[in-house]
């Protein structure tokens, strides 16, 4: 007996956003990445084909990130001392995007100087052809101090610049607009706050297709349910036609999982927790795949094995389309 599968016909869809620009488009990337365009809930291929598959970004730092889990530092080995080499290694490992994350401190105790930050970005751009996301530490003064010269010096690359937050978005949005870049807006796990930040940024004249939103999430076991449901509600609102929620979402399971004790600490923990590396990679993979199911268009990861596993999961989810 044939079964009619009930289908939703949504009036709205997620904006399509292209990251990076090739030389034809005014940048230097060897390829671009296009995300969003969703017209149904994730992987409901029978309703609407998935316009663009979720992509994986790998996070790197301008210098060895001492606070990272020893598992990660060991895995990446010496490349962590050279952002160019690190970006290159990520590209070879199969990343779609690179996220260059600046910390609160540079080499010493002071925040990184703007010129050093700019040259780190240029190093990465020179080493890889992948589109690049550049994130400040999320503290207004430092973010503005480093992102403005970076935006100026990389005009036309369609970088994604962040963090734009409720209290600090004007400077970053203005320099992104002036230099043909995109921005990442982050809000703390709340549908309304995400929407409000998008309104504030578009009020400045930034087109919606140049915004990626980070609704913030938690690791598995550390509040993922809350993050998941906020993402799901944002996506539902977008499909229902609420323009200010119709943006692709980027979340950071790498950061969220590798800061948990389970991933960060290997000694003095119960034996039942199992092998350290496997535990960390599983944690990161499961968190990332769950968030992709919730509607994430970009997941930011840290471990190359997680990259492979999440890639395989995405392949499976996409393959369903042809069944």
């Amino acid at each position: 007996m044939p079964i009619d599968i009930p289908m939703d016909n949504w009036p709205g869809s997620v904006k399509t956003v292209t990251l990076g620009a090739t030389s034809d488009q005014g940048g230097t990337r060897s390829s671009t990445v296009t995300i969003g365009g969703d017209q149904s809930l994730p992987f409901m291929h029978f309703e609407k084909p998935t316009a663009n598959r979720p992509v994986i970004a790998m996070e790197i730092a301008p210098a060895r990130p001492a606070e990272w889990s020893p598992v990660l530092l060991e895995t990446w080995s010496e490349v962590v001392d050279d952002p160019g080499a690190w970006a290159n290694a990520c590209e070879e490992a199969g990343a779609d995007l690179i996220v260059l994350q600046f910390g609160l401190k540079g080499a010493g105790d002071e925040p990184i100087a703007a010129d050093l930050a700019t040259s780190a970005v240029k190093t990465v751009l020179g080493a890889t052809g992948l589109p690049l996301v550049v994130l400040g530490p999320g503290q207004a003064e430092i973010d503005n101090a480093i992102l403005v010269p970076i935006a100026d010096e990389t005009k036309g690359e369609r970088l994604v610049l962040g963090l734009c937050e409720d209290g600090n978005y004007r400077t970053i949005v203005a320099s992104a607009m002036a230099n043909d870049h995109l921005v990442l807006g982050r809000t703390p796990m709340d549908v309304n706050l995400a929407k409000q930040l998008n309104i504030l940024m578009t009020d400045m004249g930034l087109p919606l297709d140049r915004i990626v939103m980070d609704p913030t999430t938690g690791a598995l076991g550390y509040g993922i349910e809350y993050g998941y449901s906020v993402m799901e509600r944002l996506r539902l609102a977008a499909l229902q036609g609420d323009a200010m929620t119709q943006l692709p979402m980027m979340v950071n399971p790498g950061f969220e999982t590798w800061k948990t004790k389970e991933s960060k600490v290997g000694e003095g923990v119960p034996e039942a927790w199992g092998e350290w590396t496997e535990r960390g990679v599983n944690w990161e993979t499961l968190t990332a795949v769950s968030l992709i199911e919730a509607g994430a268009n970009v997941v930011v990861l840290r471990h190359p094995d997680s990259l492979k596993r999440v890639r395989a999961a995405i392949d499976d989810l996409m393959a369903f389309e042809t069944v």
């Binding site: 409720d166 209290g167 004007r170 709340d190 549908v191 309304n192 706050l193 929407k195 409000q196 930040l197 309104i199 504030l200 009020d203 200010m244």
Partner: protein, 636 residues
């Protein structure tokens, strides 16, 4: 080249202008002063003039009502001369209060046909007692009761030991001609209570007074009333002395539950009340012993703290008050400065977070007078709201904080002399113009001033929709201060205090949270009842944030729903007004009891839609701009 002549009433010569000139340009040319606080953008309505004759084109009629237009009013800054025109410039004070969206709280009016002998529970009766003799051995008390019964029909009389101790000497000294003040109580068939016995000669022509008291979390208001005429003799307000022990009811309860905190809080609020009563007495020359009765309104926590009843259970699930319907109390037990044997009548509440301020407010707002659905909002530290009609009442409460009463804001103050109560900002220069209560140098900003200021800052782009001050603007008025970004409303040389009056980022956040809580409250209320918010035919606004509210500006910031302005009524302090009505009239008092018993209470903490509604309202005017079409129009 001259096209047309414009004639101003105050100017002897006609002024020559070209086609397309604005009236303000003609005025400027002729030296006729027309004030334009908003910088000629047609927003403030202060440049309204009367077109006596001639052809003009009104580019914008914002802030003018249909009646205004029919009367010939036009905004000078928005009106184009298209013929020879005669114009009358009304005096500024005439303009100030006739704007369509300004809603001024009405004066307290004695209810029509007030007849103390019929409706008042407090009565003073002149009695001539028969003197005792060897043939008439009735005791003094029996003699008094008999005379009272004959004169009034009162059959039972309560008294106190002290009064009995004083009785004999007074009767004899007055030669048995006395004035007896009694309270006949809520129940006409119950016992009356003896308040005072005095010689008739003393009482004749002497005042007989009552108090209506509203104990707010932030503001305490006292009205002194002449019970014989019903007139309000004096109104006074002051910040509740408990503020320094916590800004909201929850922190007060916590403070009160520690050590002797409860007794300390009781003492503080009594001190505030009694200071106000003292000043009312001294300003009117009335002796406190002439005050026979007080009705007290206030939220449940304030009421409990005033009476020294431990309020802890109000804070803890399942949020139960020790008592909602209090019996009448003896003044000396409560501690209010008045006749020690006078009656204090605490008005009844509904629940922990919907107190007597709301039952009294519903009474005085007239919410129940019509079968049409109306919304009553009491904008206070707790925002309480009631949706209903003569048939039904549903209520809820949410914590708004003290910002609208001018507290918890750096330069906030009560709506008193020296408070900035309205602000306009020139959209090009970001220069403000303000109106100060009493027309003196400003000391601070009151609640209505804060609403007005935030609305103007928003519409002129000084604030973005998130309430952030745009620090890239070219004006010295936007700067960084101790508390982050701030806007200077008045420079030190203009103020009474000699300090700059500013509004800070923190203040704006407080105001945003306050308005979001209130807006969210009535959205959830309407949702729960299942009616659209705009089904409310009237919106009745109470609160002690000022003597008036500019509805347009309250809508601009998203405090009030975007509805036709004529649906709004600003009633001022509805709580004290309700206490006043209950003081005067036994039936009004009975109606408050009925209101308290018939209201359905929705506990928002048990409603998870509130938080969602709150965060979406935490924006200017709201995350969903389609709810505020008039604001969207004003922004373009």
């Amino acid at each position: 080249m001259t096209d047309y002549l414009v004639r101003f009433d105050s100017h002897p010569e006609p002024i020559e202008v070209q086609t397309g000139a604005l009236l303000v340009e003609a005025a400027r040319r002729g030296g006729v002063e027309i004030r334009q606080p908003c910088g000629g953008q047609g927003r403030c309505g202060r440049c309204a003039v009367l077109i006596e004759s001639g052809q003009v084109r009104r580019r914008s009629v914002l802030r003018l009502s249909k009646a205004d237009l029919e009367a010939g009013y036009a905004l000078a800054c928005q009106t184009v001369v298209e013929g020879d025109v005669a114009v009358v410039v009304p005096p500024a004070e005439q303009i100030q209060r006739r704007l369509t969206t300004d809603h001024v709280a009405p004066e307290a009016v004695v209810p029509e046909g007030y007849d103390p002998a019929r409706v008042q529970t407090v009565r003073r009766i002149l009695l001539e007692l028969s003197a005792p003799s060897m043939d008439d051995q009735t005791d003094d008390w029996g003699r008094l009761c008999t005379a009272l019964r004959r004169a009034t029909g009162v059959t039972r009389l309560d008294t106190t030991l002290e009064q009995i101790r004083r009785l004999g000497p007074v009767l004899r000294a007055s030669e048995w001609r006395i004035a007896v003040t009694i309270d006949t109580g809520r129940d006409p068939n119950g016992a009356a209570h003896l308040i005072r016995v005095e010689p008739a000669t003393v009482a004749e022509g002497a005042p007989l007074c009552g108090l209506a008291i509203d104990v707010g979390t932030t503001t305490v208001t006292v009205w002194l009333i002449d019970l014989l005429t019903g007139r309000v003799q004096f109104q006074a307000g002051e910040y509740n002395g408990q503020i320094s022990r916590g800004e909201d009811v929850i922190s007060r309860i916590i403070y009160g539950s520690k050590n002797d905190g409860g007794e300390e809080l009781r003492g503080l609020v009594l001190e505030t009340i009694n200071t106000l009563v003292d000043s009312a007495c001294s300003r009117t020359g009335i002796d406190a012993t002439a005050i026979a009765k007080a009705t007290v309104s206030g939220n449940s926590t304030m009421m409990h703290l005033l009476l020294g009843i431990p309020p802890e259970s109000i804070r803890l699930e399942p949020f139960i008050t020790p008592i909602n319907h209090m019996p009448p109390l003896r003044a000396s037990d409560v501690g209010i400065t008045m006749n020690a044997d006078g009656i204090v009548d605490p008005l009844p509440g509904v629940a922990s977070y919907v107190g007597a301020d709301i039952t009294a407010g519903v009474l005085s707002s007239g919410l129940r007078s019509s079968p049409e659905t109306a919304l009553f909002i009491d904008v206070g530290t707790n925002g309480e709201m009631v949706l209903g009609s003569s048939e039904w009442l549903v209520t809820c409460a949410c914590s708004a904080g003290p910002a609208f009463e001018g507290a918890g804001v750096l330069h906030g103050m009560r709506a008193d002399i020296g408070a900035i109560e309205e602000v306009w900002i020139d959209g090009r220069t970001y220069e403000p113009t303000s109106r100060v209560i009493g027309d003196v140098a400003p000391r601070g900003i009151c609640g209505s001033g804060l609403i007005s200021l935030v609305a103007e800052m928003f519409l002129t782009g000084i604030l973005d929709k998130g309430g952030h001050i745009n620090q890239t603007l070219a004006t010295p008025r936007v700067r960084r201060g101790l508390h982050g970004a701030e806007y200077v409303l008045a420079w030190s040389k203009e103020t009474e205090t000699g300090d700059d009056i500013v509004i800070t980022r923190v203040d704006i956040d407080n105001l945003l949270r306050a308005k979001a809580a209130i807006y969210a409250g009535f959205n959830v209320l309407a949702d729960r009842v299942g009616v659209p918010l705009d089904s409310a035919e009237r919106v009745l606004i109470g609160g002690s944030f000022g003597k008036y509210i500019n509805v347009e500006k309250a809508v601009d910031i998203g405090l009030l729903p975007d509805m036709p302005w004529e649906r709004f009524d600003f009633l001022g302090n509805t709580s004290v007004r309700g206490a006043y009505l209950a003081l005067l009239d036994r039936e009004a008092r009975a109606e408050i009891t009925e209101i308290a018993s018939s209201m359905t209470y929705i506990e928002l903490s048990a409603d998870n839609s509130f938080y969602e509604a709150f965060t979406s309202a935490l924006f200017l005017p709201h995350t969903d701009l389609s709810r505020f079409p008039s604001v969207a129009a004003a922004m373009t």
